[in-house]
Symmetry: C3
Subunit: 388 residues, 3 copies
């Protein structure tokens, strides 16, 4: 049997000191003029963007922009005139060279935060704290690690899948040696895309780690009376502020001055294969975004409702993780600080889908309800962490 034919190209590799520079390929060049596929990489200029690369995938339906220079974050997804992502006060795709994570008591990460999907991790992931003289900065370093290797692949046989395979390393002598291999897969004509990550401890000692997939949506997916939906087993307010909004925890307000944010901690039911589904859809239930993931890989789901004004960043985050975003010592105390043994890996699979009409939203709602299957949703009324 012949191996499947695959077009493959290394765009960036620090081991080879290779960078193809501005680059693109499309179906016609591969002898597939009718396959709507295009991949392009180009360097950004101006302001804090200087030296940042953007990698854009097109499949005839969607355009996905990834940021190799920022840990393979997804900047935005465009589809049919819609944009999945959000408008942050941070308007540029910021080069990590300009980020000082330790700024503002460990909140320097906020200087670069504007992605549709950003990983929080890997050595730590939550809110800043100081422990043993070390400042664990907000959401860790993953967003500000330039990828060490980026390869793109296009299958030359149906369904002509497009893949981006990249390596992101968080390595500090004596401290950690974590490697993320991330694969994003997209098929021509599809409005779904799939992320398959593998995080490996290359070090010779047990390595605690944290990983949160901080996915962020705004208008028109998010609006007054938009809904969050998932098969929720338990919802807990993150802090006192969230208690105020607990009754409407799954409904969204429109842009609201002074709202700031409410955060809820969720545990979800899953099917027998540990699959679960979390949706955000608009008020009319005819536009939405779904996120399928596995609760055995990502047991904790954080819902971030930042329905402040448009100019402050009107956005919601649906964030499955290996933990919640409390400071690391609290997560450890709660038994949510996972550990990778030497050489060990953990895999994470997520599928994002755009729901473009009432029917698609309806089907996704039914899937959620099927997983919920009439099981109760427990509402905890007090935040678990004193003083939060």
């Amino acid at each position: 049997m012949m191996a499947e034919a695959v077009f493959s190209c290394v765009l960036l590799d620090s081991a080879l000191s290779l960078d193809v520079g501005d680059w693109s390929v499309e179906g016609a060049q591969l002898g597939l003029p009718e396959v709507p596929v295009k991949i392009s990489k180009h360097r950004l200029h101006g302001g804090k963007q200087q030296g940042v690369d953007l990698l854009t995938l097109e499949n005839g339906e969607m355009q996905i922009s990834l940021i190799p220079t920022r840990g393979m974050s997804i900047y935005e997804v465009r589809c049919d005139g819609y944009r999945l992502g959000w408008q942050s006060p941070v308007k540029e795709v910021v080069n990590p060279a300009f980020i000082n994570a330790e700024q503002r008591g460990g909140k320097g990460w906020l200087d670069g935060f504007n992605e549709m999907l950003v990983r929080c991790g890997f050595e730590w992931a939550g809110h800043p704290c100081e422990e043993d003289g070390v400042l664990y900065t907000l959401h860790g370093r993953a967003a500000n690690l330039p990828a060490s290797r980026v390869t793109v692949e296009i299958d030359l046989a149906p369904p002509y899948a497009i893949r981006v395979v990249a390596l992101v390393r968080e390595s500090t002598f004596k401290c950690c040696d974590l490697e993320l291999q991330t694969t994003l897969t997209l098929e021509p004509g599809s409005r779904d895309f799939h992320i398959h990550d593998r995080l490996t401890n290359l070090g010779d000692y047990n390595q605690p780690f944290q990983l949160i997939y901080h996915g962020n949506y705004s208008s028109p997916f998010l609006e007054q009376d938009a809904q969050f939906l998932a098969p929720v087993k338990r919802v807990t307010p993150f802090n006192q502020r969230a208690c105020e909004g607990l009754a409407q925890w799954h409904c969204y307000a429109g842009p609201t001055a002074g709202f700031d944010e409410e955060v809820f901690l969720l545990e979800c039911y899953a099917d027998e294969q540990h699959r679960t589904l979390a949706l955000v859809h608009n008020a009319a239930a005819d536009l939405g975004v779904s996120l399928a993931y596995r609760t055995d890989q990502l047991p904790y789901l954080t819902l971030w409702k930042n329905t402040d004004t448009v100019r402050q960043g009107y956005v919601t985050g649906v964030e499955p993780g290996t933990c919640y975003p409390y400071p690391r010592p609290f997560e450890r105390e709660q038994g949510r600080l996972a550990v990778l043994a030497t050489g060990a890996s953990r895999e994470f699979e997520l599928t994002y889908g755009l729901l473009m009409d009432e029917q698609e939203v309806g089907i996704a709602r039914q899937q959620v309800e099927a997983i919920q299957n009439g099981h109760p949703c427990e509402v905890i009324t007090h935040p678990p962490r004193a003083g939060s």
Copy 2:
């Protein structure tokens, strides 16, 4: 009526991901062979300069070098063999990527300080302090913000004014969204240049801000018996060290080992249009630099006398601001921490002029005296801030 014809070119724009690279234009290319105008941009190399752009304007009299990569600071002004600026131990034009503002207890800014004019701001501007767990670093972030857009313009009709219009953004999610639009205007054959800044709060909440124009001069403008002159209403020593030099606060020493610095806080009289004028001229009063600004825009003037040795950086700063350079909490306490409402702007206009002979210095002195108009200058003998 026809619109004025203007040559205009965008040199840098992060929104378009545009950077023209090394670039220049001069009169002849615009059909104006007799108009002495030249604008050029080039990238610097070597050491911490790597990746820094320098933008140089020439008008037949002066050569002004701006640093887009460093918040549109002015590196130096050259005229007739003289150099307005100073020799810092920092010998390169430092890329902000190499600056860690939090270094040395918040004094990392000093790793890049060598400009003729650097803005201190915008979210904070003064001496470092810690408040609510946040380290407010020396002189804020403005000097280390790469410009997001730079446009140059040349009027194609007399007086053929040259303009650089640029955008500098200080944006952090949840914290601030300030935008400076700065316009520098220069006319052929002139030895004046004009800065017109507009600082806007793009956020939806009230935004405290601070802005100090840290303009710095050295030899031959500064020398033994050089003079500072302005229509001063009140002079106050910044700290105990300044008390020692209070009697001679407006006279300069030559390079003096062990001098370090003396700082004086000034309030100036202004004319009916709120215009005032501050001069530094040499001992012979035949070479000087004037700064015209408005006290309704910049009510506080700091005089920094750093007449230490040449190799330590022999320099004086004439620094109008919205505040004095005390730590932010003290400025707030004193009612000098200004606030921009949502969408609100504040404008700042400054004109620097080179005075190249006795007559020009004399005229400027008369202008100062006209504004002073015999009004008294009160001398406060004690620093307002305990322990300073």
Copy 3:
């Protein structure tokens, strides 16, 4: 008499804003087709390497890779299939723009540490500490200062010596103005190379400084039963951990899980010209590396035995310095914080040599023994610093 003919080329100069980019020269181009000499500079790509230059010297025997962007550190030396250097978890040659030295309580330096030779210095050099509100970060800033000037020279007459002359500056307004001029010399066919450094205080005040040459070796030079050898007058355990290994302080373990590190503080005897010699050789004593230096220039020698597992970074450091790596206040207290008067310089000369067979190792051992000359080695059993 005619001056010696020399090929000379400036590869990088911030004063001229010059960078030749990717570049190389070899003997044939200089009319010396039979002289095995090649110098090449190329820019690295990918991950945190972005924008880093590597400068490689070849002399027919050895290949030495220097890192202009990282303070002229030596990345690795290759000879006859062997590699002098080590495998750090940090796999890329990290651009200082991505380093935040203040991270992890001042241990951010560890994010970039993987060189065969890295200078610790110049304003400070040891373990992190906070003093007067300033965080003195691990091993100082020298490794993360991009060189300001790099010149290469090749003598056009025998022995056709190759030289790299570079300038590295540590300059902060009001704080320090130190300049290192470093010259690396290499002769065709040789397996020795020579470093001649001159550190100058360009400031006008006395400048305390610290400098440690952190040279690092791994397999196959380092292995189970490899030996360290030097004419030692006194050996002192750095801390309690080192006390455990004191009896075998000059013998190496193989890669050992949980070993972490042991550090010993040495004082060495020297010959009448103050020259001394420190060796590391393998168990069979047929492969080694020698370091000749002067005890009047570098009176203190630190031996770092980091014989942890291969993946954690199996490595030993032989580190002559002007001090030991204790925090700066302790070094000051012990009288080991040297000071450069204004304009003063200190010179440092080191020669590294590869010993490729039993005979070469044997000769080097005899040289060490000749300097030791039967004099005793005092073993101190308690660490000098309480709590270390």
